[in-house]
Symmetry: C2
């Protein structure tokens, strides 16, 4: 079956959908067969971005590397398993974008992951769901509920079929000008990583190109399509390439 990549964080607005879309399009652009499931039937950001992409391809009469994609609107775990099975057929990678809330389909999807990506703003507000820190030393003094939730999910998976889920905590919307805060959050993440079993990835910086192309469904990878937006995105493309490489995905022959 495909390598399953799930984007999960109960905290809202941490970049799950943005990361999921860019990883999916990056892999499709590299020639792999990519399928995506959007588990947020209401907001459906992942689905909407790719729907806009298809509309642009049609409107301009061009081909754009695009994953197969659907939104899950079912009511039962059985229905989710059916969609996962169907979308997995012939896919090298299955990508799942999940909602920013406590959701039983999101929790189930996390247990099906090979790679579980938890994007996070560089912020102790976001960090608070994984660990609480001392206000003076910024050391982690207490584990929080979301770290425990994922820890339990990984334990259950290892017990059921021996597979260890690669849990990647991906820092998002990084701004190097915020050096002190970035250093503190980084130190807390490094400390917690060992205790709780995730690894930390630098991820995407705060860049308008990761969001201003949503209405057209284009991405910074679509060189030549961007018209006035085709400003040099060399640094951003390198950043996205490094992020995908950092996910350490197995590479099936394309």
């Amino acid at each position: 079956g495909p390598h399953v990549i799930v984007f999960a964080n109960e905290k809202g607005g941490t970049g799950k959908s943005t990361s999921a879309v860019h990883v999916a399009v990056a892999l499709a652009s590299q020639g792999y067969r990519v399928a995506g499931i959007d588990l947020d039937p209401r907001q459906r950001t992942f689905y909407r971005y790719l729907e806009n992409r298809d509309a642009t391809a049609q409107r301009r009469g061009i081909d754009l590397p695009t994953p197969a994609y659907e939104v899950f609107t079912g009511d039962t775990l059985g229905e989710l398993e059916q969609m996962v099975e169907r979308m997995s057929d012939g896919a090298d990678y299955l990508i799942a974008d999940t909602p920013g809330r406590d959701d039983r389909f999101a929790r189930h999807m996390a247990t099906l992951a090979n790679t579980l990506v938890t994007p996070m703003n560089d912020s102790f507000v976001d960090f608070d769901l994984v660990g609480q820190v001392d206000p003076d030393t910024f050391k982690v003094k207490k584990l929080s509920f979301y770290a425990e939730l994922i820890w339990e999910a990984r334990k259950a998976r290892a017990k059921s079929d021996g597979v260890t889920i690669d849990w990647v905590l991906m820092r998002n919307r990084l701004q190097h000008i915020e050096a002190r805060n970035m250093r503190r959050v980084g130190a807390a993440l490094t400390e917690l990583a060992k205790r709780v079993g995730f690894r930390v990835l630098p991820g995407l910086g705060e860049r308008v190109v990761y969001r201003e192309l949503f209405p057209s469904g284009l991405t910074l990878l679509d060189k030549g399509m961007l018209g006035e937006l085709g400003v040099s995105h060399i640094a951003a493309r390198q950043e996205l390439r490094e992020m995908v490489a950092g996910l350490q995905l197995p590479r099936p022959r394309a």
Copy 2:
């Protein structure tokens, strides 16, 4: 009763809690009696920020202007009404922070608002929940579900007691360096504002000071308490002052 300010946006991570905390502390610092209710029993960011603030006041043996605050953990609308009534007693302002998901308590709280603040990232990803735009002109071509939800809530409120809820769409995490995207989102918001009945407020810029003080519960308004963080926050304080002023709140005698 108090003037009720509700922070609501079904989209996650748009700055509801960050704005709610800073407005609450700003009003408390001005000498008003402020009460706050956190409607997110799991994440409880608003509650956690103020809990950290109380802990800092205690630890340092100082007084910090702080609202009364509780988190709602009930199961019924009746219980929510009871908490609202209890917290409203003696308060000039009642502030409610609500979760970034479709939540019946959040929906009910919105109908109780005098001022309903919907913070939003400067992003068509966030905008997509209020309106869909044309990828070439960026004009609003279709209303989205969240705009309709709030429109219906305001209509129901006006019908029930004649009160018009002041719906404020507050742009958050603004970065003037993103001029073109900012202009496009601004134009779409201005267009939609007339059709749907909200007004647009510039809100807070992207500043690390709005999040790096979460573990101590301090804010940029706590001059003299910030030690090494007491770098000149004059521009940020002015920005927060203008945001609060922009809410056009009635001012009871303090």
